[in-house]
């Protein structure tokens, strides 16, 4: 007989902090972050996996937190927009979005930034066309796409400079 229960144990690492609670299984990762942990940087847009506003990293991979049951990723490491600045300094991607004027209203921005950080890790950054294609899971209704790609290219260039510096 399979064990079936109403509240289900949920154990996660969220931005480096342990989290543990019994949750109704219908609670999505997005709703856990926003409604129970006050991590409202992750946004709810379409709530159907289409807009990308809810993008977070789970074990380093970008995913849509609106389509994940919080109880279904035991012991996963979750990184949200609140977890990427260090020692009071913005993550280079956050700074690049400001420098490149990569947003207007800002609602899609946390998702765009989390997606862009994962994109750099995946390495799909060889051309503007490739960046555009691999950012297709994040919509921007203000149409700031050119600025978003500019911001990503700035961080790519920064990484190249840093690597060249280390090699020298």
């Amino acid at each position: 007989m399979t064990h079936v229960s109403v509240a289900v144990p949920c154990r996660l690492q969220i931005n480096g902090q342990g989290y543990s609670a019994d949750l109704p299984p219908s609670v999505t990762l997005l709703d856990l972050l926003r409604e129970r942990l006050d991590l409202t940087g992750t946004k709810k847009g379409c709530d159907h996996g289409q807009c990308g506003a809810c993008t977070v990293l789970v074990d380093g991979k970008r995913v849509k937190s609106c389509l994940i049951l919080a109880v279904s990723i035991p012991d996963a490491a979750v990184t949200t927009i609140e977890g990427i600045a260090h020692d009071g300094r913005l993550h280079p991607m956050q700074q690049a979005f400001i420098d490149a004027d990569a947003f207007q209203c800002g609602y899609c921005t946390p998702g765009q930034i989390m997606s862009a950080i994962a994109l750099l890790d995946e390495g799909h950054i060889h051309s503007r066309a490739e960046i555009r294609e691999f950012m297709s899971g994040n919509l921007c209704r203000c149409g700031a796409y050119n600025g978003i790609i500019d911001a990503i290219e700035r961080v790519v260039a920064l990484q190249h400079r840093n690597q060249a510096g280390e090699a020298a």
């Binding site: 399979t2 709530d47 159907h48 996996g49 995913v63 849509k64 049951l69 109880v71 297709s136 994040n138």
Partner: protein
């Protein structure tokens, strides 16, 4: 979302033996979406994420076994898939978005449901969602609906890109159910709607897809996945074509071809593929192949354009495969 019971079994036996209205949860990209839309209303969600189906394994015959829980992204990026099955990697990258591909699994891709607008709207008649209520897509806004394999009861398009490549590659699906294990060819896995459109595939209650087996693919560079859609990215196919050709001295030895966006299931016609056997490539041959593939295509109110568009996409895909210049999924220019 409605309330449901949840369990995460550690063994196939536990997972397969559950009575009542259950659904298996893997990546969740389709099921959770459908539950939010009140289309799926399971009483019990069985999370199969702990079952041992997370690996891609080399096979003794030169083929590959794709675990059902390997994500679409990890499959498309796997060195052996990239090396031996670039057609599959290409089709996967043509679909969904990076985030969705990081979540969606190979088994889930096979079992995803149609994106028919009427299926998704519980206020509309739909024999697939609510048997016996009728089909609002017939005579409705049906520009995206199927033109092949339809019935009076249903014209819903099968939405996958990955499965179109699997059909062209003649993959085999491995299943584990309450009565043990069995295998079925991917071309026989999905069902035509007929009078029972609520049945998407041959899965029996309690049965789980455990792996997809790929036989050795002898196509070399002579393949392509060509997808035509409303937007450049993140849109379902209006027409897509997966082709693999065995070329020798400028002649086609044999060919394998499957259509997406056109049918109520991945669309393959062995008689159309047989036309390619031991023939030099030519426009007239490819027109004949397209004609045979589209035999019996029937338009409803808004989707006749698919029947005019498809032969052009089929012929272009065949030429791309002949010349060994597969469609790029980054630079979308069709050459």
């Amino acid at each position: 979302m409605r309330h449901f019971a949840y369990s995460r079994p550690a063994t196939f036996d536990e997972a397969c033996h559950n009575a009542g209205h259950t659904r298996f949860l893997a990546g969740g990209t389709n099921l959770i979406d459908l539950m939010k839309s009140d289309v799926e209303r399971p009483a019990h969600v069985i999370d199969i994420g702990s079952l041992p189906m997370h690996h891609i394994e080399d096979q003794p015959d030169g083929g590959l076994r794709l675990g059902a829980l390997v994500t679409n992204a990890d499959t498309a990026a796997h060195p052996l898939v990239v090396e031996r099955y670039p057609l599959l990697a290409s089709a996967i990258l043509a679909g969904a978005s990076p985030q969705i591909r990081n979540m969606a699994t190979n088994g889930g891709n096979l079992n995803q449901r149609t994106r028919c607008h009427y299926f998704y709207d519980p206020a509309m008649a739909c024999n697939k969602r609510s048997p016996g209520t009728g089909c609002a897509a017939r005579g409705g806004r049906n520009r995206i609906m199927a033109v092949l394999g339809t019935s009076d009861a249903c014209i819903a398009t099968f939405p996958s890109d990955m499965c179109i490549a699997l059909a062209a590659l003649n993959a085999t699906v491995n299943l584990h159910g309450p009565d043990g294990e069995r295998t079925v060819g991917v071309r026989d896995y999905h069902c035509l709607p007929g009078e029972t459109p609520w049945r998407d595939n041959i899965l029996q209650p309690g049965e789980i897809v455990t792996a997809i087996d790929l036989p050795p693919a002898p196509f070399g560079p002579h393949h392509t996945y060509l997808k035509v859609r409303d937007r450049l990215s993140f849109a379902f196919a209006i027409v897509s074509v997966a082709v693999g050709l065995c070329m020798k001295d400028g002649r086609i030895g044999r060919g394998s071809i499957a259509l997406g966006g056109m049918g109520t299931k991945p669309w393959c016609v062995p008689e159309a593929e047989a036309l390619l056997d031991d023939r030099p490539p030519s426009h007239s041959l490819f027109r004949d192949v397209a004609g045979r593939l589209l035999h019996g295509a029937t338009a409803d109110r808004d989707n006749a354009a698919k029947i005019r568009l498809a032969p052009r996409v089929i012929e272009r895909a065949l030429w791309q495969a002949v010349s060994g210049t597969p469609q790029s999924q980054t630079d979308k220019t069709i050459r």
